[in-house]
């Protein structure tokens, strides 16, 4: 994986942290997942790598479709205003990225840019989940983390287990499906997919 591809993936992730519209964020995450699938298929060696790459492509398409449906079925009269401005959110994400890349030593992926991109995507996902109010954006944060982990599997120097890779893809897709289901139920119960409404259980 080249440095430019890494920057592209991280740029798409930062876009999700910054943008206001959910549909644009869904487009960015889907594009990121498709780019990952293309990288996986480009680098594929044995047949198992091809299967894993195809699974990533299917996951990207399935999640894109699922999020599209979730956006359409939970249309809000006006977008939720985040508590923190886009610039501050971007700043938080960059700080997370710098911290994680500084703290985690080289861990043996095929290239250092790939390692940095993995850590940056995980950090971006955490920043997204922490700073966005919309429940859908919090789910997108999980997907960003997942995309980072998929990149780690692609960049691994060893042939990893196909069953484990497919299992991870399936598991994470399942989690996102359940989260999307919750998002829709929260929308119908509270009239908005707003995580700020989910703060009544406190001691």
């Amino acid at each position: 994986m080249t440095g430019a591809t890494g920057w592209l993936l991280v740029g798409l992730g930062l876009g999700v942290v910054v943008v206001r519209r959910r549909s644009i964020a869904v487009g960015l995450v889907t594009t990121q997942a498709l780019v990952l699938a293309v990288i996986a298929l480009q680098q594929a060696g044995p047949a198992s790598d091809v299967v894993a790459g195809l699974a990533l492509a299917m996951r990207a398409a399935a999640l894109g479709g699922l999020f599209f449906v979730a956006v359409v079925r939970s249309r809000e009269s006006q977008p939720l205003r985040a508590r923190v401005t886009p610039m501050v959110r971007a700043g938080v994400a960059v700080v997370f990225i710098l911290l994680l890349t500084a703290l985690v030593p080289a861990f043996g992926l095929t290239s250092r840019p790939a390692e940095r991109a993995v850590l940056a995507l995980v950090a971006t996902g955490l920043a997204c989940a922490a700073t966005r109010r919309s429940t859908l954006f919090q789910v997108l944060g999980i997907v960003l983390v997942e995309n980072g982990l998929a990149l780690a599997a692609i960049g691994s120097p060893h042939a990893s287990s196909l069953i484990i890779e497919l299992g991870v893809t399936l598991d994470l897709t399942l989690i996102v499906c359940v989260a999307a289901l919750f998002h829709l139920r929260i929308f119908s119960e509270f009239g908005a997919g707003d995580s700020a409404a989910l703060r009544s259980l406190r001691d």
């Binding site: 861990f107 287990s161 991870v168 499906c177």
Partner: protein, 487 residues
């Protein structure tokens, strides 16, 4: 004769097949089908546990399946609590008024998701490698989140959402740690992530330590260790009572087992002391956070949830101290906590019918208005508080003694003070709940009371039995096998 390996597959397959059968079965037969299959699952699990304990010195170790002493312990707990939860579910469903799904499909969906959750939970202690263990733990999240939010009410949705997001992000961080390990293990693939092979990691101590910390921090979010425990009180208090029992008594210690095995596997690389310090830190933090809440008047299920935080902290301390004495305490604590905590959550079903305010507020005087229910709650709370002759009193003593024995006197002393404070808080809550001021209440028909009373009687006998065998536990071949871990 069937092998342990085949039996392990059967133990997981039966609840999975049951989930499929529940989809197809006529509505009027759902309860009978669920209970029958739950009995079958538990019988197979108990046979497997018997084989594992009988031959504890020679565990079955494969790339996909491990049947060792620690796994057998958690398998036994999960099987028994799962069986009781399935039996209690009919009483819960009988009184349930709302759900996540449409009314006509409510019971069917509940049993399907419950059996899927139980199957994944039974599989975790049998996972032969870290990758498979992670997959199974993550799979429990998807199923159990649906169960936490099952009532579909605003509070349940909130609890389910927090649980799903926080534990998924935590497990994402743990997976980053696993990816780092996978990249540095020479053989790669499944065999590279097998418990016994993790120590072949070749990218250096600092990288191994980073991976270990990421895995532990990620798993801590799922175990509910402080400071990443925010979802725990909400999920335990809002889930259906039989599910709360499975979450607290089985899921949390099962994920702790994954942390324990990771700790043992990586200790030679990162240093035993460094590995233990992390666990002891989580243990003390959990105790320190839980104790103040045990002193506050609180809704019954929420009180049990904070008690889980305290007890998972105690288990972390025991694993962190790592001596045979401490590990004997951990084994006793896991079983005693599971029985007492599950009984408490089961008692919540008749309690909420008896006193609906108990869903949100502390209750008092239950022993005066419903003596049998009060006695059952008393057994649970008394055991959880560590009131002698509770086995949790003995297990806490063993763990503290193990701490002093290992030379970690300060953490053991701090833990002793926190445990004493926790005992006083929970003992006060127990007295108030049982013999405090009583209100006029519904005493006509309490769903599940007969079953809860039976479980209470059985639990009392088992808890006293555990206390009786505790002195012989340390030094037994079972505890020796716990100390050795997965070879």
């Amino acid at each position: 004769m069937i092998s342990s390996q085949a039996l392990a597959v059967v133990v997981v397959a039966v609840p999975l097949v049951t989930a499929g059968l529940v989809v197809l079965a006529p509505s009027k037969h759902l309860t009978v089908l669920a209970r029958t299959c739950a009995v079958a699952t538990s019988v197979f699990a108990v046979v497997l546990v018997g084989l594992a304990v009988k031959d504890a010195g020679h565990p079955l170790v494969g790339h996909w399946i491990v049947v060792d002493a620690a796994g057998a312990l958690l398998l036994a707990v999960t099987a028994v609590v799962g069986l009781a939860s399935v039996w209690m579910s009919a009483s819960f469903l009988q009184g349930a008024r709302s759900s996540f799904v449409v009314e006509g499909h409510r019971d069917r969906v509940y049993y399907v998701v419950l059996f899927l959750f139980w199957a994944m939970l039974l599989a975790v202690p049998l996972a032969g490698n870290l990758g498979a263990a992670w997959l199974l733990v993550e799979a429990t999240t998807a199923a159990s989140a649906l169960l936490v939010g099952f009532s579909g009410k605003a509070h349940a949705l909130e609890a389910g959402w927090k649980y799903l997001i926080l534990t998924s992000l935590g497990l994402g961080i743990a997976l980053l740690g696993i990816a780092i390990l996978a990249a540095g293990v020479p053989s790669g693939g499944v065999s590279g992530l097998a418990w016994g092979r993790l120590a072949t990691f070749g990218s250096g101590r600092s990288t191994a330590l980073t991976a270990y910390l990421l895995i532990l921090i990620g798993l801590a979010a799922k175990i509910g260790w402080a400071p990443v425990h925010n979802w725990l009180p909400d999920a335990h208090s809002q889930a259906p009572p039989p599910v709360s029992a499975l979450l607290s008594a089985a899921l949390l210690p099962t994920v702790l087992l994954v942390a324990w095995r990771t700790d043992r596997a990586l200790a030679p690389l990162i240093g035993v002391s460094a590995a233990q310090r992390v666990l002891i830190g989580f243990g003390l933090a959990s105790l320190a956070v839980a104790v103040p809440f045990l002193w506050r008047p609180m809704a019954f299920k929420r009180l049990l949830a904070y008690s889980s935080l305290e007890h998972l902290g105690v288990m972390a301390l025991g694993v962190g101290f790592g001596t045979p004495l401490a590990l004997a305490g951990v084994a006793l604590h896991i079983v005693g906590h599971a029985i007492a905590k599950a009984l408490g959550f089961y008692a919540a079903t008749p309690l909420l019918a008896h006193e609906p305010r108990a869903a949100r507020h502390a209750v008092s005087g239950i022993g005066r208005t419903a003596p049998v229910l009060g006695a059952t709650m008393g057994v649970s709370l008394g055991a959880l508080s560590g009131l002698p002759p509770s086995p949790l009193f003995v297990s806490e003593l063993l763990i503290l003694a193990g701490g002093f024995e290992s030379g970690r006197s300060w953490p053991a002393a701090i833990a002793a003070v926190l445990l004493a404070l926790g005992f006083l808080g929970l003992a006060h809550a127990t007295i108030e709940t049982l013999v405090g001021k009583a209100h006029r209440r519904n005493v006509t028909l309490l769903p599940g009371l007969r079953l809860v009373t039976t479980l209470g009687g059985v639990s009392l006998v088992v808890l006293l039995g555990l206390t009786a065998v505790a002195p012989w536990l340390s030094g037994s071949s079972f505890v020796d096998a716990l100390v050795r871990g997965v070879p």
